[in-house]
């Protein structure tokens, strides 16, 4: 019983995040799931690490994207790799699909939250199994749900509205990527922890592909950005 709140085992519990990733956005499309996330790892307000892979494949049928504390994401990957390993060891033709992995993660996150020692992440879990597409999310307090499009952090405020207007079933791969890039561009303009280096991950019945990192074109010639100090003098 050494996990009581307030005891000197406090040094063992997660109190604040240190190196964090920002939004992850995910959508269902015609052939499967698309996820997008940038490659930034912030250290507070410093954009310290710029090549952090925040999306990984899980077994044959799923991918996970994480925002929040990067070291906790690495820990989650260890749990998941072990889960998939034991699943494979049965060698019986059955395998965990995205639904099972999502629910397992939900149990883990919620149980840690109950012990006041959370894994400080918001996760997106997507995949395809036997033709069934699955996309869900779970966060550090154990809140979990599935939808046709999900996002974490700022993505919920900036990207989901775009997706609510423009997402539809039967998006092609190209349309899906364009839609995600639109979401990521808005995040790049407006989220201070976003960096302009991102990856897109795709999962279909055939398997997982995570793209090479690339950057988005941005436009800064908006009238409002010209002479930004006009009218500033005397105003407060």
């Amino acid at each position: 019983m050494n996990n009581l709140i307030g005891s000197d085992a406090d040094s063992q519990r997660t109190l604040y995040p240190y190196v964090t990733g920002t939004s992850v956005v995910g959508i269902k499309y015609k052939d499967g799931i698309l996820l997008a996330a940038d490659m930034g790892g912030s250290y507070g307000s410093t954009l310290r690490y710029k090549t952090v892979e925040r999306m990984k494949s899980v077994g044959k049928h799923s991918i996970i994207g994480a925002s929040g504390e990067i070291s906790d994401f690495q820990e989650i990957m260890r749990y998941l790799d072990e889960l998939i390993l034991y699943d494979n060891m049965w060698d019986d033709g059955n395998s965990f699909g995205p639904k099972e992995v999502h629910n397992y993660l939900t149990r883990v996150m919620y149980n840690r939250r109950n012990k006041f020692n959370p894994l400080w992440n918001s996760l997106v879990l997507g995949g395809v199994k036997n033709g069934q597409k699955y996309l869900g999310t779970v966060n550090m307090i154990g809140v979990h749900y599935e939808d046709n499009h999900v996002a974490t952090g700022f993505g919920n405020h900036l990207s989901r509205p775009i997706l609510r207007d423009e997402w539809h079933e039967n998006l092609t791969f190209e349309e899906g990527v364009k839609l995600l890039e639109k979401c990521m561009r808005v995040l790049l303009y407006r989220d201070r922890s976003a960096v302009n280096k991102l990856q897109i991950a795709k999962i279909t019945e055939e398997g997982v592909t995570i793209s090479q990192p690339y950057s988005l074109k941005t436009f800064w010639n908006f009238a409002a950005f010209q002479n930004p100090t006009v009218g500033a003098e005397g105003s407060w």
Partner: protein, 275 residues
Amino acid sequence: MFRNQYDTDVTTWSPAGRLFQVEYAMEAVKQGSAAIGLRSKTHVVLACVNKASSELSSHQKKIFKVDDHIGVAIAGLTADGRVLSRYMRNECINYSYTYESPLPVGRLVCTQRSWKRPYGVGLLIGGLDESGAHLYYNCPSGNYFEYQAFAIGSRSQAAKTYLERKFETFVDSSRENLIKDALFALRETLQGEKLTSSNCTIAVLGIGEAFSTLDQETVQRLINEFEVVGEDPPAEAAAAPDQSDGAEPGPAAAAADDDDQETPAADQGAAPMDI
């Protein structure tokens, strides 16, 4: 099989490499009233004979629902059977809770463990998973086998003879024909006694159909149907079997050399769990 000095303990091997306690436990299965299982690609049917100890008492429940997609029929020490059913239900519930998904049957049957003594009950486990319908037989030795059709308990050999003749048709059989075949096989074990809905229980599960026990009326109606039509079992379809045999491993060396005291000579016939 007579008593000998190596049969007191489940942890003692005989010089011929047998665990007699386990073999005796398997005898208990043979004494229990018959239980039968058959499967097609999409359904599993479990059937058992209900033997009430007297006219005044009710019969023991021998078929249990373990989950919506798994059912088990037992033969032998029914008390042990109930303990194991409870354990299996627990495993299914825990898996469902963690993964929101039904436990694959194949993973349920290999998690049996023996504690102080072997369980004196044979389990016929029918279940559904991603790859279709399955029927497994779990014996007290801890071994399990997958079957197209199988029968255990007393006078099960008669049922097995019937099943061996017909099992090739089961793969593509319809739900109704599968149930009728189960009733026919069950009738064989009654050796002349009349088959009625009060001395048998039938349970079915299948793709899109959760495990359920058929009520007496339905069973009686099905029995009446084939009694009226005549003795002939349902029409056969030519389908290649794709499963292991419907035969149980050969009976233990009953009349063989069981006096292992002096001579460590090999017993005639293999020990049942060696197969």
